[in-house]
């Protein structure tokens, strides 16, 4: 972690964090499914101050052709941050960080999607971070997962994501930007809540084995909370007319 010192109090004596949350509380999360007209599936998520759009196309023909697999469909993911999404303008060309995040999101979604039903095709997931405020990869994965379901692509489970971390020697849920910059550890987690499998896991920062275990448990609890919000987003779209749920 950066560990830069500043006047920022990450955790006060009452256990309240710099943005007023308790240690085991996520930021406000709202998800809307089906926000784009031309994509096969889409979702928009606001995760604290993160604002992220996800669009899904496919299963469709694979271009370039040599990428296609005769045994299974493939999934591809582009994670991209808009130049205006952060304080200093970001160069719009894809950075190494964005390429890596696209890869880990793709690998987090892969086990959930029944691609073997669609050989020789591709499912393309495009994620655009319109505003970033820490924890974008988790929020992006949450939106991408809802967008895949919205596209009607057969899935084994949702993928729900939330980070856990460590600030002021305390394990916390859902690390925000300030906590990421000045905190001690950040561990994004992606989890399939019904299958009980972790499909995205990264860690920056030092944790003892006991802290690591607690961090994993805390993060998974956060994922379960996100899962309920993802389900509600899909229900809101598909049962909007008061149809039977």
């Amino acid at each position: 972690m950066g560990g830069r010192d500043s006047d920022l109090v990450l955790l006060d004596e009452n256990g309240i964090r710099c943005d007023g949350r308790k240690v085991d509380e996520t930021r406000n999360i709202s998800i809307k499914a089906g926000v784009l007209k031309n994509a096969n599936g889409s979702a928009y998520i606001e995760f604290g101050d993160n604002k992220i759009l996800a669009g899904v196309f496919g299963p469709r023909d694979v271009h370039p052709k040599h990428m296609s697999d005769t045994d299974t469909g493939i999934i591809r993911c582009r994670y991209h941050m808009s130049p205006f999404s952060v304080t200093e303008r970001k160069n719009p060309a894809p950075s190494r960080r964005e390429i890596e995040i696209g890869k880990v999101i793709k690998e987090a979604l892969r086990p959930a999607v029944m691609l073997e039903k669609f050989p020789r095709t591709a499912v393309d997931v495009y994620v655009e971070v319109l505003q970033a405020d820490g924890g974008t990869r988790c929020a992006a994965l949450d939106a991408a997962s809802v967008a895949l379901a919205d596209a009607g692509i057969p899935m084994r489970d949702m993928v729900s994501a939330c980070a856990a971390g460590k600030v002021a020697d305390t394990i916390i849920l859902d690390v925000n930007n300030e906590e990421d910059q000045a905190g001690q550890a950040d561990m994004p987690i992606g989890y399939m809540p019904n299958l009980g499998k972790v499909t995205l896991l990264q860690l920056d920062g030092v944790l003892t084995p006991a802290e690591f275990k607690k961090c994993l448990e805390t993060g998974i609890e956060g994922c379960k909370q996100v899962y309920e919000i993802q389900k509600q987003a899909l229900k809101d779209k598909y049962f909007a007319n008061g149809e039977q749920q």
Binding site: E100, G196, K197, V198, L201, L203
Partner: protein, 271 residues
């Protein structure tokens, strides 16, 4: 470039059948890494270097140290940058060209392990705050590719940093100027070790070789520091882990990492 291993179904079946009997294709125990040899000082023109062989995977890593501008928000710290390249001579499927996502991930995972462990105290590498700092560049060239480049590149980078010598610069007329003949040891605080494990079915295998890499369901790379704490982690591959498997992997990474760290400690003492 991206190199993807493809193995035939017969070998895949054989690997799986052996695992059910508690054996690995190359005879190792599940928690046993391949033989590891570390040579340092192999490139005298570099400020530090190492050649690491991990089974039939080989990496040559060079450290170059030079003055640079600090990152805008980190004016009181030196720079550390790690890159990786799979050379086209390393494997028949390796091709020249810009790095693919696999290689970008490789470099970033190696970088993260060393950076997050705080291995090098970068605050001691400042020439003039916000203006000029010392940069450490660790460039990993994979010369022979038999799987698990994460551990090979991490080990080679760590070995090269441990044994590097930092030239001395002084600020003269606002410019960093080399002071000939004065070199110092790097400010090392801890020794990070990355341990990569593959999950094939319910089995966790330490240091998967290329064949195991081709059959794995998912992988995880866990970097630990000298205190036995976890300082970086990356899950990869097309499937996941249960939380219990992740805890199991973290325990394996701590114990397997300790053995590799002993080898690296010896380099440090011998420098």
């Amino acid at each position: 470039m991206t190199s993807t291993f493809v193995i035939d179904q017969l070998k895949r079946n054989q690997i799986n059948d052996l695992l059910e009997k508690g054996q690995r294709y190359d005879g190792r125990r599940f928690d046993e890494p391949r033989s590891l040899t570390i040579e340092t000082g192999v490139i005298p023109k570099a400020d530090g270097s190492a050649r690491v062989r991990l089974g039939d995977t080989e990496v040559v890593t060079g450290i170059k140290i030079q003055p640079d501008r600090p990152f805008p928000d980190m004016g009181d710290k030196g720079i550390f940058i790690c890159t990786a390249e799979i050379l086209p001579l390393a494997h028949p499927t390796a091709e020249p060209g810009p790095p693919g996502e696999d290689v970008i991930e490789l470099a970033r995972v190696v970088d993260r392990g060393i950076r997050e462990s705080g291995m090098v105290d970068l605050s001691q590498l400042v020439l003039e705050k916000d203006k000029s700092v010392i940069g450490i560049f660790a460039d990993n060239s994979v010369t022979d590719h038999d799987g698990n480049l994460f551990d090979a590149c991490s080990c080679a980078s760590t070995a090269a940093i441990l044994t590097c010598k930092i030239p001395k610069w002084e600020m003269i007329d606002d410019k960093p100027t080399l002071v000939e003949g004065q070199k110092s040891d790097p400010p090392i605080t801890t020794i990070p070790v990355a341990v990569t494990m593959a999950r094939i079915g319910d089995y966790i295998l330490v240091d998967p070789n290329a064949d195991e890499w081709a059959c794995m369901d998912a992988r995880i790379t866990i970097t630990t520091n000298s205190n036995g704490n976890i300082c970086a982690l990356q899950k990869g591959g097309d499937d996941g882990f249960t939380p219990e498997q992740i805890i199991q992997c973290s325990e394996i990474a701590i114990s397997a990492g300790a053995k590799i760290r002993q080898k690296l400690e010896q380099l440090r003492q011998g420098r």
